[in-house]
Every structure is written in structure tokens, then in C-alpha cells.
Symmetry: C2
Subunit: 153 residues, 2 copies
């Protein structure tokens, strides 16, 4: 019963931003694998859009709309995986994440906000506006990686 | 220009079920990593629901609704990663996938249909119906793994 109360309490405290790790008590290495999976898929669905914004891939409004919707879901998925319990697991995550969680959270919200704007733009049908919105999403990815992710050598 | 035409043609032929691999020309090992990422996240968001249906995790309607929505997106993500070009990449995928693509596709659609039913049930608020819908999603996972995924030793 204690465990049940604990999980229910965690859900209440966390509200809409519930932590599945609290509910499922995922192990640190599993949480790292899951958050990396979310990043991999953000890359899968953002990559072609970045290509379109840069003129390297033919613009396709249907692909943008579909991928933007996917990114709307995916951009909510990595963050509970950056639990403090994972700070010792080998990954590209920098200690800055746990040293400045407020800044890290702002970066997440910036991405989510820009993805929401991209979803809206993708329904509007204005290619220029859509490409600008893609660019803003890309900047949010980069902004977070610059501060919180180990640079590739 | 040839490449552009090719990609545009692929998008036309594939229609709504567009293949990002065709657009982005992803390498086989990247496609395997991406499809495995989608499976990992389906596990992340289905796991707690399975636990609820089995009475191992306290039932939480908000978590079910949120995870069901995520699964609605995630259950569309793995399949273009099972491109024939990946059949030589080491993974748990069985040759049956490429030998009976129609059956594999039916299994995908069964999962997607059951996830859609779970999304609907999660909005209805009937705990028994929600748990039954969770059970059906679980069966669709298992049904596909039984036929198309190497058994863990």
C-alpha cells in the first residue's frame, strides 16, 4: 500500500507533467535509453524539415504537417528521462542539466513552444512562414544542445 | 534535379503513408536505430498502462489518456524503418517481415486500430473499458512480436 500511495502522491504532486519514471520506477540506464530514443526520433522527423527549410529537400506541405504533429508529441517525451538518478550514466548529457534545471526547463519549453508554432504554421499553408517556423525549431534544438550536450569531437 | 524529382515522385506514390527514408535517404543502420527508438518509446508509454490493467500500478486516468495519445503517434513511427534495405542489419527482426509484408502490415494496422480504440476509451472514463482496451493493445504488440521478432533466449 505504501508503494501505491507513493505513486499516487507523485502523480498528484506532478500533475499534468507527471513523471512516468516515478510511476514505473524505471532504472537510470533505461531512462537514458528512453530519452535517447526520443532524441533519435526528433531527429528523424525534424531532419527532413530542416532539409526543406534549407532548400536541400523538396518542400512537401503534407510531410511538414505530419512531422510537426509527431514532433508535438516527441518534444514532450525526453525530459522526464533526465532524472537526477541518471547523472552517473554515461551519455552526452552535461552536468549543467542538473546544476541549472530551471534553465534546462526553459530550453525545453522554448522547443515545445516553437514546435506548437510550427504545427500552427503547417496548417496555414504559407511556405515562407512554415520555413521560418522550421528554422525557429532548429534554433531551439541547437540552443539546448549548445548548453547541455557534450560537443562531438 | 533528378534527385529532387525522384524524392517528389516517391512522395506522390507513397501518399499519406510517405516514407521518410525515401525523402531523407536514411542509411539502413540509421533506419534500424530509428525503428528501435520507436519500439523503446512504445514500451515506455505502454508499460505503465499494462501495469494498470494488471493491477500492478494504481489506475490513473490522466496517465492513460496522455500515454494513449503518445502511442497514437508512436504506433505510426516504426514501420518505414523496416525497409528491405535493412534486412541485412543485425537486429531481432525476423526474415518473415520481408517474406510476408502483407501480414506484417496487417499486424501494424491491428495495433494502430487498437491504440485508436484505447484513445477513445480513455476519453470515456470507464475504467473497465479502458483496461480492456489496454489489454487489446497488449495483444497486438504480442501478436506481432510472436511472428516477426526473434524470441529472447
Amino acid at each position: 500500500m505504501n508503494k501505491k500511495l507513493l505513486a499516487a502522491g507523485a502523480a498528484l504532486v506532478l500533475g499534468a507533467g507527471f513523471s512516468l519514471s516515478a510511476l514505473a520506477q524505471a532504472k537510470p540506464d533505461v531512462m537514458v535509453k528512453q530519452r535517447q530514443a526520443a532524441m533519435t526520433l526528433q531527429g528523424k522527423y525534424f531532419g527532413p524539415l530542416a532539409g526543406m527549410a534549407q532548400g536541400k529537400v523538396p518542400f512537401n506541405a503534407n510531410v511538414v504537417a505530419r512531422n510537426a504533429e509527431f514532433l508535438g508529441a516527441l518534444s514532450q517525451m525526453p525530459w522526464d528521462g533526465f532524472d537526477a538518478s541518471t547523472s552517473g550514466v554515461k551519455s552526452a548529457a552535461l552536468p549543467a542539466i542538473w546544476n541549472d534545471m530551471a534553465k534546462f526547463k526553459s530550453a525545453q519549453e522554448l522547443l515545445q513552444g516553437n514546435v506548437a508554432k510550427l504545427v500552427a504554421a503547417s496548417k496555414g499553408g504559407n511556405e515562407g512562414a512554415i520555413k521560418a517556423a522550421i528554422g525557429d525549431v532548429g534554433k531551439s534544438c541547437g540552443g539546448c544542445h549548445d548548453n547541455f550536450r557534450e560537443k562531438k569531437q
